[in-house]
């Protein structure tokens, strides 16, 4: 091989790869609007993205799998913990992660910025990205969710547990908050009545309890969630 041939290898290699790449870039630009639901990309969502960048959240958390790997991926966080769950953690991380061995800083995010970021996460959750990350795939529910789905037929308490903020502090099989104890096997320790009593008035059962009383639950909801929890053995 002569130097001249080598030069032609260089030229052809570079040009052919660039052509493939630029053509695909052009087509991607065309398709992204649909794949990312660009029609729902409102000003609020954009404001949320700006806030997300302003506080450098991405240098602890990944989103779409990029960024730092120090904290949970936020691609599907809206699906995972919902609006209230997100708000609670951003507003008071010290409390939300009081029992965790890894802390999230209190960045003094304003309420408006938090609301915008929630809109941003709501939009990100819907991006059609070949179903990544696997742990949040709707096709492959996490173990915590499996436990709940398995119980939904038996008791609607599982849905109450997930949607009424219990998971901000408690976890099932590693999914959920860490401020309160994990409840994977709480049914071994506590009866239905005991759980009902505790949830309404934690300090009445244990004077040192740090859990706030759950006053918003209706009697029916309380009964269902207590039945669900007592079944976890």
């Amino acid at each position: 091989m002569t130097k001249k041939i080598a030069f032609w290898i260089f030229l052809l290699g570079t040009i052919s790869s660039s052509v493939v790449f630029l053509a695909a870039t052009w087509d991607t630009q065309r398709q992204v609007a649909v794949l990312s639901n660009a029609d729902k990309l409102s000003d609020r969502v954009v404001a949320g993205k700006r806030a997300f960048q302003k506080y450098n959240c991405n240098d602890c958390h990944t989103i779409l799998g990029f960024g730092a790997y120090y904290a949970p991926d936020l691609t599907r966080v809206f699906q995972r913990i919902g609006e209230e769950g997100i708000r609670f953690r951003i507003k008071d991380p010290e409390k939300a992660f009081a029992n965790s061995w890894r802390k999230m800083p209190d960045l003094r995010v304003t309420d408006a910025e938090t609301a915008d970021m929630i809109e941003f996460f709501r939009w990100v959750t819907e991006i059609n990205n070949n179903d990544w990350p696997p742990q949040d795939s709707r096709k492959r529910l996490s173990r915590g969710e499996q436990a709940m789905v398995a119980s939904v037929g038996v008791t609607p308490g599982a849905a109450v547990f997930q949607s009424k903020g219990c998971m901000n502090c408690h976890s099932l099989h590693g999914t959920g908050g860490t401020f309160g104890p994990a409840l994977d096997t709480v049914g071994r320790r506590l009866s239905v009545e005991r759980i009902e009593h505790y949830v309404r008035d934690p300090k009445g059962v244990d004077p040192g309890a740090m859990m706030p009383p759950q006053k918003e639950l209706t009697d029916r909801e309380l009964e269902e969630v207590a039945k669900f929890l007592s079944s976890l053995k």
């Binding site: 080598a6 794949l35 120090y70």
Partner: protein, 442 residues
Amino acid sequence: MEYRSQKIAYWYFAAALPLFALQILLGLYLAFSYTWTVPQSIVDAFSFATARAMHTNLLVLWMLLGFMGGTYYIVPEETKSEIYSEKLAWFQLIALLATGVAALVGFFFGWTQGRPLLEIPSPLDFVVVVGALIFLFNVAMTMIKANRWTAIQGTLLGGLVFLALLYLFGMPFYKNLVIDWYYWWWVIHLWVEGAWELVTAAIFAFILMKITGVERQVVEKWLYVEIGLFLFTGIAGTGHHYYWIGAPRYWLWIGGIFSALEPLPILLMLLDTMNHVKERKAKILNPLTWTYAVGCAIYHMIGAGVFGFLHTLPQINYYTHGSQVTVSHGHLAFFGAYALLNLMTFYYAMPKLKGIEVYDDSRGKYGFWVMSIAMMLMGLFFGVAGVLQSYVERAMGMGFMTAQSYMRLWMGAVFFVGLAFLGGLLTTVTDLLTIRPAKARV
């Protein structure tokens, strides 16, 4: 040293070294935060996020200083002329350092663009661009005036221009997160697997030619083949970052196929280096420089070629994407390809710039081996943590922090080998800054 203006390179290298040391201190803070609990009050004041922005930006800053210094060293010898303007070279060094310091202080006070690796805020970005333009102008003018083109010069200039152009894609605010990441990778991937490889290949070819005495015709012929393959695989290979961002599905094919070929040019570079070393026409004056050259070629292959290949296919990347597996590869590749390349350049050029023909490498040897071994272990520990994470969090679907508690031991191990790395690095930095002539051999 044959040309007076080469001297400027020394100051680029001398500025890069302490920044490298600072980068490692911050790396230790990161590994510490992974393993032990940092109290809330400290996290509020100086968080992981801030430290990570510093760790990675220092990395890029010192490496760019190294590349620029390397360029200022090589270009006079290649063009057989002085640098077009030494004043501009000085100005640009000071401007870049000042921007870097301003950025680091800014990060501490929360002044950031908030995009990983590209945290530098927009106003400072413009200063960076102006500095880069001055640099390119200075280098290009030197080459044009001398008009003695070689493949090494062409590759170097081409790589630098490509590098600067790509930076522009990282500057705008993108409303759509998908588009944002799409162009983010034009900077990050096309840098490390495109433009930087060109610059590296040129510097490597130059030093190899000088120390082995192999003919230019042979070195430059292989240089063309290497950069051709780098760009052929690397440009479309960008697709290996587009699997899960909301881009069309065909990227799984484009990215998978082209990036799977990316180890080829690296392998070629390794074989080529081995060949030149075997068929050397000059005798080995400074064994440590040779050790760095061979070490760099091998480590480049391991970190980028092997560890990159391991997670580049979509079937595997689905589980390892954005985990400690990525970090493992990131460290081994950056260290093997670019840290060792820069250190090789420093060991080649700094003694010469001080008028030392044969230098004393008794300390430097330790530096090389301690750093190389510590980094290899660190890569493996990150890797074990990453495999655990992929399995526990992604395959089993347990919570993020549950997976982290399984990985804790390995992240602690990273911290301790990180301390050893720091020891090796401090030895190297001291050695380079106070390099002495070798005592006459008996």
